[in-house]
């Protein structure tokens, strides 16, 4: 059995081990790989930057805990940007498992950093089942859909919600999603109520959503951890996504190497088999 034949039959656990090592290395020996900014991330940053100070914005946590690595850096970066501009942030989630509690944890941590007061500067509406009904209903009245916030406090007792009744009172929607809820925010809220929106999404979903940017339905887009890292750089707040991108780059190099090895081996063994038949 020659080298290429051995490689063809290699136990896949060796590949897992190599990937694992490549991911761990940058955390032990930090390396800085350059991260370029895509026009879509820049457009989203510019759109948020152009909002007047103290605007009321929606930040939607439409992701499950399983994609925290990609999505949470986006929400944290967005909150840095919003709170610096003194925007009033209303969070909600259409994800039952973990969405509202992640929104609560992330927003409260960030609010503490910027000395923001709950009910005045930010509100967490929490979760409500049936996102289509939620999105449609908030166009008429947010309070009819969310009579109380995530902690059960009636909206009528929260100062911020005294001035916010429906989408007319919201300036911008920042959707962070790992699923198709972004489609519904576009088709129901953006298209029917004209609320400008930007989106941060997992890498798996990103190729689909570039078409939404091109059509002008999204003002900008963050795709996966790379998108999150771009936004962190744009707001000059490098954090977990920027750190993670070093590991990402190393693993990509490893995968490219393995794909090349695999293909070379495949063609060489096929040529040998052809020669053997002759």
């Amino acid at each position: 059995m020659n080298f290429w034949e051995k490689m063809e039959k290699i136990d896949r656990r060796w590949v897992y081990l190599m990937v694992g090592i490549m991911v761990v290395i940058p955390f032990i020996f930090p390396a800085n790989f350059p991260i370029s900014t895509t026009p879509e991330a820049r457009m989203l940053f510019d759109a948020v930057e152009a909002l007047p100070d103290s605007s009321v914005v929606f930040l939607v946590f439409d992701y499950y805990p399983s994609t925290i690595a990609e999505c949470e850096p986006m929400t944290i970066a967005a909150l840095h940007h919003f709170f610096r501009k003194d925007c009033k942030v209303i969070t909600l989630s259409n994800i039952p498992l973990g969405g509202p509690s992640m929104a609560e944890r992330v927003t409260r941590t960030m609010a503490e950093e910027y000395n923001k007061v709950y009910g005045v500067d930010f509100v967490n509406l929490g979760y409500k089942a049936n996102y289509v009904a939620v999105m449609s209903g908030m166009g008429t009245s947010i309070e009819s859909i969310f009579p109380a916030d995530n902690s059960g406090t009636p909206l009528s007792k929260l100062p911020l919600m005294q001035t916010v009744h429906n989408y007319d009172d919201i300036s911008f929607l920042f959707e962070v999603a790992d699923n198709a809820t972004a489609d519904y925010w576009v088709s129901i809220v953006n298209a029917q109520y004209g609320l400008p929106m930007g989106c941060g999404t997992t890498a798996v979903s990103a190729p689909k959503y570039y078409a939404f940017v091109s059509a002008g339905q999204f003002v900008g887009l963050l795709g996966g951890m790379k998108g999150a890292a771009e936004y962190e750089q744009l707001i000059h707040q490098p954090a977990k996504a920027v750190t993670g991108m070093s590991a990402q780059s190393l693993v990509h190099l490893l995968i490219i190497f393995l794909v090349i090895i695999g293909n070379v081996g495949f063609f060489l063994s096929r040529t040998k088999k052809g020669e053997a038949r002759v």
Binding site: R13, Y16, V19, G20, V23, V24, F27, A50, L51, P52, D53, S54, S55, V56, S66, T67, I68, A69, E70, P96, L97, G126, Y127, K128, A129, V132, S136, P147, A148, F172, D183, Y184, V186, S187, I188, N190, A191, Q192, T202, A203, V204, A206, P207, A211, S214, A215, G216, Q217, G223, G224, M225, K226, K240, T243, G244, A247, Q248, V251, H252, I255
Partner: protein, 337 residues
């Protein structure tokens, strides 16, 4: 860091490592954690729906706020449970019919209006490169336009030049000339410059377009070619009483728009050939066959892009877990040992 936080992190680390152990081979610890996850998720979901839907949106509005008509959706929802009893399961069809009717109505409009038509429109229009033209080194100039009630002011300037951020005071009915000088606009001509003018009252988010896509043919807008890449644009704005008195920010943007022919042609070929690949009413031979093969190539390239992004996404999830283990879990060791 208190001991509850440490315990929390250790449980998370144990669960993470237990699930990752499946990469080596299936084992009882992996199975245990998998089952705990499934059970916890189901329990959490039931509790959440009970509180946010049944209690908050049915029980409290009905019995505390007197919205007794909510009994109708309540009964429709309750009828869904008849599916568990074969003898009465047909009753659930009433609720299903209602649900399907409303869902079809909502989705038909929203999908068509919000997804299909905008995407089709974007596909049908040529790809245009939009480059913000520099305005003496600035991409976008903001001025401040103060519109004040005519009864309270005598000074009525009639010209404003937005080459710098400045404040100007005007009154209703005045003619305000909003002009700009463009320099070094390589490749620009009076025909491919597009002017956008937006106005927004300070501290009020809603923007109004004075000029959404102003070109050399737009009434009220003049674009003068001064030669050597230099242009002057002028727009006459007459504020009327539909603008409330107050201070306004003016956003002025000039873009050079150029049709990107190669990209437009690639998209055109890609869309047509892919659609033909999915046309099954005629055998894929001859021209139709060749076009369908081109369609397959476009589909494969699209799959490649999706696969690349998927790899990135999955690696990101692993990075997230490793970040947690290295930074958070190993970080607790100094508190314990």
């Amino acid at each position: 860091m208190n001991w509850i936080e440490i315990l929390h992190i250790w449980i998370m680390a144990f669960v993470t490592l237990a699930l990752l152990s499946f990469l080596y081979k299936d084992n009882p610890i992996y199975k245990l954690v998998e089952h705990i996850f499934a059970g916890l998720s189901a329990g959490y979901y039931v509790g959440l729906i009970w509180d946010t839907v049944i209690v908050q949106q049915l029980y409290i509005p009905m019995f505390n706020n007197g919205k007794y008509w909510l009994i109708i959706p309540g009964i429709l929802g309750f009828l869904m449970f008849t599916r568990f009893f074969p003898k009465f399961s047909w009753v659930s069809r009433i609720s299903l019919a209602f649900f399907m009717g409303t869902a079809a109505g909502i989705f038909l409009v929203s999908q068509l209006h919000g997804l299909v038509l905008p995407q089709m429109q974007d596909t049908m229009t040529p790809r245009i490169s939009k480059e913000v033209v520099s305005l003496d080194g600035y991409a976008i100039h903001l001025g401040e336009l103060e519109i004040i009630d005519p009864n309270t002011i005598d000074l009525l300037p009639d010209t404003m030049v937005t080459t710098d951020k400045s404040e100007y005071t005007v009154a209703y009915g005045d003619s305000v000339i909003i002009s700009s000088s463009l320099k070094d606009t390589t490749g620009a001509s009076a025909d491919n410059l597009v002017v956008s003018l937006k106005i927004r009252q300070q501290k009020i988010a809603e923007e109004r377009h004075l000029l959404e896509r102003g070109t050399s043919e737009t009434e009220g807008l003049t674009i003068t070619d001064n030669g050597a890449g230099s242009f002057t644009t002028q727009y006459i704005f007459k504020p009327d009483t539909s603008y409330a008195a107050g201070v306004y920010d003016l956003s002025y943007e000039v873009k050079k728009e150029t049709i990107m022919y190669p990209l437009t042609i690639i998209i055109l070929i890609g869309v047509i050939s892919t659609l033909i690949y999915f046309y099954f009413s005629k055998e894929h031979t001859g021209v139709l066959g060749v076009t369908a093969k081109v369609g397959i190539w476009f589909i494969m390239i699209s799959f490649g892009a999706h696969f690349g992004y998927t790899v990135m996404g999955r690696v990101s999830l692993l990075i997230g877990r490793v970040q947690f283990l290295v930074e958070d879990w190993l970080g607790t060791f100094s508190n314990i040992f």
